[in-house]
């Protein structure tokens, strides 16, 4: 068995954490070839070659592949598919955009958000916002899947695989990139941070979200939010944690003014330690919290932040 693993590359840079976790998951399936795709991705390919357990790196560098547009990226992956039993990618928004397209072109049913690999045909994945875990067996010749990386340890960086440049597909001319609005931040990245502090609707306004950010900065944490907080404009969309946002599993998750709806829990209940601050002692978040503080966040958060010195 051989695996083609699509690396997470953003603006020419490899997301080492997501890719190395996916490599350690995919390693159970066979030899792992990593594919880097982008307008510039030589640097990402060289970095991917260092990940332990990578047999080989393919680097497809071409303007048509910039910004990970789904149509040319899927065409490229399909053109390489013949050599592999499994095609996998970490479950980023790019992969969720591209991989179902790859699967349909190969007449294969995609297996989304795999959380455990049982054997070459059999996989576990969460359904109903993580309220059930389903084990599924695929009868398709080529398995196409995305991997939910939160549950896997990252492979080490002691490898030295070879890097091979490969050609790019013709431009299908279906869509083109216009712009990215990416917030620059010195905080750790949400999905790989060791500590996450999240705010919910309880925070009440965009201005008061600074309380959450202040606490996060004291803890060197990433900042998260519930959907209600994002919908209300308190926080940007890429901070959303949950069924339809990001899935995180940090060592410490602090939920502030979040009720603990199942769709939110779906994104954070695998955190090692969960701390909840909520003024309603009946809030469901307390059912999953290791430490709960029944308090007004406008008292508790400033106090906590100041005590952290």
């Amino acid at each position: 068995m051989a695996v083609l693993l699509i690396a997470d590359v953003n603006a020419g840079e490899l997301s080492v954490d997501a890719t190395a976790k996916a490599v350690s998951a995919a390693g159970a399936l066979g030899d792992v070839t990593v594919l880097c795709v982008g307008a510039n991705c030589k640097g990402a390919a060289d970095e991917a070659a260092k990940i332990d357990g990578v047999a080989k790196v393919l680097c497809a560098e071409d303007a048509v592949l910039g910004h990970q547009m789904a149509e040319p990226a899927a065409d490229l992956i399909v053109s390489l598919a013949g050599d592999y039993s499994h095609i996998a990618a970490p479950g980023t928004t790019d992969a969720k955009n591209i991989m179902p397209r790859v699967a349909a072109l190969l007449d294969t049913q995609i297996i989304s958000e795999v959380t455990a690999i049982v054997d070459g045909d059999t996989f576990e994945r969460p359904i109903y916002a993580g309220n059930a875990i389903q084990t599924v067996k695929s009868g398709d010749a080529t398995k196409v899947m995305t991997i939910r990386t939160a549950g896997f340890d990252a492979a080490g960086m002691g490898g030295s695989a070879s890097v091979e440049a490969i050609g790019a597909p013709a431009d299908p001319g279906l869509s083109s990139w216009v712009e990215d609005k990416v917030a620059e931040s010195d905080r750790p990245e949400l999905t790989s941070a060791g500590v996450v502090v999240s705010g919910g609707r309880g925070v009440g306004s965009e201005e008061d979200f600074a309380l959450i950010e202040g606490l996060a900065d004291k803890l060197n944490a990433a900042v998260g939010a519930s959907r209600a907080a994002v919908d209300s404009g308190y926080a940007p969309n890429d901070w959303q944690v949950g069924q339809t946002g990001k899935v995180v599993a940090p060592d410490l998750y602090v939920a502030v003014g979040i009720s603990g709806a199942i769709q939110h829990l779906a994104g954070m209940k695998d955190s090692k330690i969960i701390v909840a601050i909520n003024k309603d002692e009946e809030a469901p978040i307390f059912q999953v919290a290791d430490f709960g503080l029944v308090a007004d966040l406008f008292d508790a958060v400033p106090e906590l932040t100041s005590k952290l010195g």
């Binding site: 179902p100 989304s112 993580g130 389903q134 990215d180 919908d231």
Partner: protein, 234 residues
């Protein structure tokens, strides 16, 4: 331009999901079912395009059990013009996989020739996040997933997408498949008069065979279990 909106009947998002004791799946007997929340947003967007004069007909489609009629009536009450139900299962516990749904939808697109298909980004039951992308691949059309803003202008559309790093804007050639995210719009509630009117709107029934599609699953469910419970604090 005609807009096609696939809508899925799923367990209502407020219902507490229970895994069946024999591990065969999730218990869907006698639980409240509703339109997938993302699909309500897609229906709303289609109706707004019609109200803005950019679309002239909105057709809602559902693939699944006969009871999905109710879901289609909801779409009609919101403002869709007509509906197509593809009866592909006789038991609510038999879900149709995205690949099969996409193949059936392709058959409908070939017949109906819409200029735009608006899907939900994911169904909240199986969370596959796949059908729209698969349909786009089968048609060889452009795709724009996770849309939080859609601006259709003649033979192209500019779409803002919710991605991991923030927002991305792309331009797609029409016809296109757009999958919608939560912040695209706030769906309207159907008024009582519109619910009454919806009962008289056309609803065609089809089968997968009408489109030459074999809807049997590629994946077999080995088991379904409850996630490991966390022990509560305090």
């Amino acid at each position: 331009m005609k807009v096609l909106v696939p809508v899925k009947r799923v367990i209502d998002y407020n219902v507490k999901v229970r895994v069946k004791a024999d591990g065969s799946g999730v218990d869907l007997a006698n639980v409240k079912m509703s339109m997938n929340p993302f699909d309500e947003i897609a229906v709303e967007e289609a109706i707004r395009l019609k109200e803005a004069g950019k679309a002239d007909e909105v057709v809602a489609v559902s693939v699944g059990v006969k009871q999905a009629q109710e879901t289609l009536r909801t779409a009609l009450a919101m403002g869709a013009d007509r509906a197509i139900l593809v009866v592909a299962a006789d038991d609510v516990h038999n879900d149709i996989e995205p690949l099969a749904v996409a193949k059936i939808l392709k058959g409908i697109v070939d017949e109906e020739q819409p200029g735009l298909v608006l899907c939900g980004k994911q169904a909240i039951d199986n969370d596959m996040n796949a059908t729209g992308q698969m349909l786009s691949a089968l048609l060889g059309w452009s795709q724009a997933t996770f849309a939080s803003e859609v601006d259709v202008d003649g033979d192209s559309a500019v779409v803002t997408r919710e991605v991991d790093g923030g927002l991305q804007t792309i331009k797609v050639k029409m016809p296109s498949i757009v999958t919608v995210d939560l912040r695209l719009n706030e769906p309207r509630y159907a008024s009582l008069p519109n619910i009454m009117k919806a009962k008289k709107k056309p609803l065609d029934e089809k089968t997968p065979a009408d489109y030459g599609v074999d809807a049997s699953p590629r994946l077999t469910v080995v088991s379904t279990k409850e996630p490991e419970a966390r022990s509560a604090g305090i």
